[in-house]
Symmetry: C2
């Protein structure tokens, strides 16, 4: 298979791929709350009760009828009979009548008849009575039933990555288990006669495989489960066999390396063997990452990423992550803090490809500056030192000091 | 135990606690790279070899001696004999002499004698020779040995949370396993006669426990392992027994609820029973979270957090997380994107306590606005709706439009 007759722009490539494949969540599973942190909610959760379920005191003190304290002052305190005591967790078996009060702890349930709580520091207790020296207004020191959530209200919508506070709210509303989207299984197959896993000595001009590790991490952080299918030499039959196995077992395939047009580049042929419609994009006008393949086979997305480790990370960021997150059910708007505005520390010019440069951020004279990092697409330290990525359009010149949007690395 | 005679400011509380306890990492363990994502590196890693380990081609083409092409042009191309072919991963058994070239793939090792690569699109091959129509400069299309990392260089320092690209670099340098800090075990004990775990029906004025879930999530995200010791009623003997068990098994203890000064508040007494020096701070001039306990027992930090779920989260953020991260070995400067500057959508005034308000962020007319969320310390939805927290100093009034720093929630 020959390609690169015409390079698509990144946006054209996205459009072509979107016509061939529309990501949908791969399924859902029921999990206990304790295992749901960072998982993506797959159901709408409605409150089956009010939260709080009853009027609660926010202080230690005495539940009162505010009307009884309306004229209280230090000169003419209101004298109230203590009708009972509220205990945490227990039913409150009595009501407050005119001229009565009840001892109540923080969080305790207000007895019927009471509409306010006076802090214990503001009363004087004498035997079975208390005197109150200032007026209480209705709802003083009370959290009303339903103030947090009212019954029937939608609490959390599907597509949300659950945070600690979301788990707390679900617990408070007696939701011990939730349906969350299953994490898509993503196969990684790296190809290349020269590759050896770390821990094995090199011979000849071999090198150690990095892409399995960077991509596994990126897949995990995007909400997928990385399944590494190891290193395959540049042999079409072996690669097709491994790719077919991975294609059966996983919901997304990533093949790395060999998608250029060299004689031994077998990735494109292996992808073509997986089924229709096959390769829909081969070659994108992006830097780094030109020899990228976007494909669909048997309803599953298949990506051919360049073997250079920085290129593979940039293409993951631009083309793989959005698809993977949609398959993982993520349906939230981007949260603040994922991008920052910064000024370039030096002029940057591009040729005929959109460039994705690595930058480190520097705070200087009250402003944030983005310093482009040296090193081409084979230089992993440019990613290790980077705080983020900046997209520079094709055929553009941005001067020193130009404002750019930096996509922070996770 | 009576307290609250004098409230410390948050900074005073931090100082007092820091004199009683200096956090150190709890230990380290050896893990394979595949399990090290987000773990904190416990060792300095030095490169044992150059990366790349040899001069590599960045393109498919022909390795040449640049001097041989110095006068090449389309009119007078340089004719070079093809001395051999470089294969990925294999040793290169030949050298390039004057007037010679060698076929080389992307990533291939340069043969001895060659100092540049000409792209295959720029040569014409005829039998055993190629003609080159433009001069190649030394190092053209070559990544030099050691360009990424040189042998002996420190690659990554201890204290770093490993990112995907860090794992890639370690793999590339043949580091299949690393020492990472062990994640501190943090005990959570919630107290209160009124508490029931989610999934069990409520009776009387019981409520469902939220704090176990919010705190477990916060501990996980800060790099600890949460060990939930369940719900203990307001009974000193039972609480002391459970706390002693947790104190033996874990490296940090969090007790929740009951640290106010009500009659049935047994948390302070239980903490005091764990050992010397015991409680060093009881009551902090912070809102929410006043009835906070900071303690040390047998060399382990112990926290008594308020039972209100928002208070507990704020106190975790202010006092627990920094200690836990230090025990987890985290030693990086804060990354960009953890805070954003925003303008208040409305005036905010505080009393005599430092206030930690919940805000949602709104992008409007090119600026970011922070909208304070309604709801007191018992209102979990104020955290669920929040994008971040803002610290408002005690006795301060900030006008609408005032610029504040928002700490983004994880």
């Amino acid at each position: 298979m020959k390609a690169f007759t015409k390079l698509l722009t990144p946006q054209e490539a996205r459009d072509v791929f979107a016509r061939a494949y529309s990501p949908v969540p791969v399924g859902a599973e029921r999990l206990s709350l304790a295992h749901s942190l960072r998982r993506v909610l797959a159901q709408e959760v409605r409150a089956s009760s009010d939260l709080p379920a009853f009027d609660r005191s926010t202080v230690d003190g005495y539940a009162v009828r505010s009307v009884d304290t309306g004229r209280a002052s230090s000169g003419t305190p209101a004298h109230l009979q203590v009708a009972g005591e509220v205990f945490m967790g227990e039913p409150v078996q009595f009501a407050i009548g005119a001229g009565q009060a009840a001892r109540i702890p923080t969080g305790g349930m207000l007895p019927e008849g009471a509409d306010a709580v006076v802090m214990q520091e503001h009363v004087v207790r004498t035997g079975g009575a208390v005197s109150v020296e200032r007026p209480a207004r209705a709802r003083d020191n009370v959290v009303s039933r339903g103030a947090d959530i009212t019954s029937g209200e939608v609490i959390i919508r599907p597509g949300r990555r659950l945070r600690p506070q979301d788990l707390g709210l679900l617990a408070g509303l007696d939701v011990p288990e939730v349906m969350v989207y299953r994490r898509p299984r993503v196969a990684i197959i790296v190809t290349g006669d020269e590759l050896v896993p770390p821990g094995r000595p090199l011979r000849g001009s071999q090198i150690h495989d990095m892409n399995t590790y960077t991509l596994s991490g990126l897949i995990d952080e995007a909400g997928g489960v990385a399944n590494a299918y190891g290193i395959v030499p540049d042999n079409l039959a072996l690669l097709v066999e491994r790719a077919k196995l991975a294609h059966r077992e996983c919901e997304m395939l990533i093949l790395v390396g060999g998608s250029s047009v060299g004689e031994k580049d077998v990735v494109a042929d292996a992808i073509a063997a997986l089924g229709a419609p096959g390769i829909v994009v081969h070659g994108i006008s992006i830097r780094p990452g030109k020899p990228t393949i976007l494909a669909v086979a048997g309803g599953k997305p298949v990506f051919g990423l360049p073997g250079n480790v920085v290129s593979a990370m940039v293409i993951f960021d631009q083309f793989v992550r959005p698809v993977l997150q949609a398959m993982a059910g993520v349906g939230e708007p981007p949260r603040p803090g994922q991008t920052v505005l910064a000024r370039l520390t030096r002029k940057v010019a591009t040729g005929d490809r959109e460039d994705h440069i690595r930058v480190s951020l520097i705070e200087r004279t009250g402003a944030v500056w983005a310093a482009p990092l040296p090193g081409g697409s084979a230089i992993i330290t440019s990613m290790v030192r980077a705080d983020g990525l900046v997209t520079i359009p094709a055929n553009a010149t941005l001067d020193e000091g130009a404002e750019v949007e930096v996509r922070l690395l996770p």
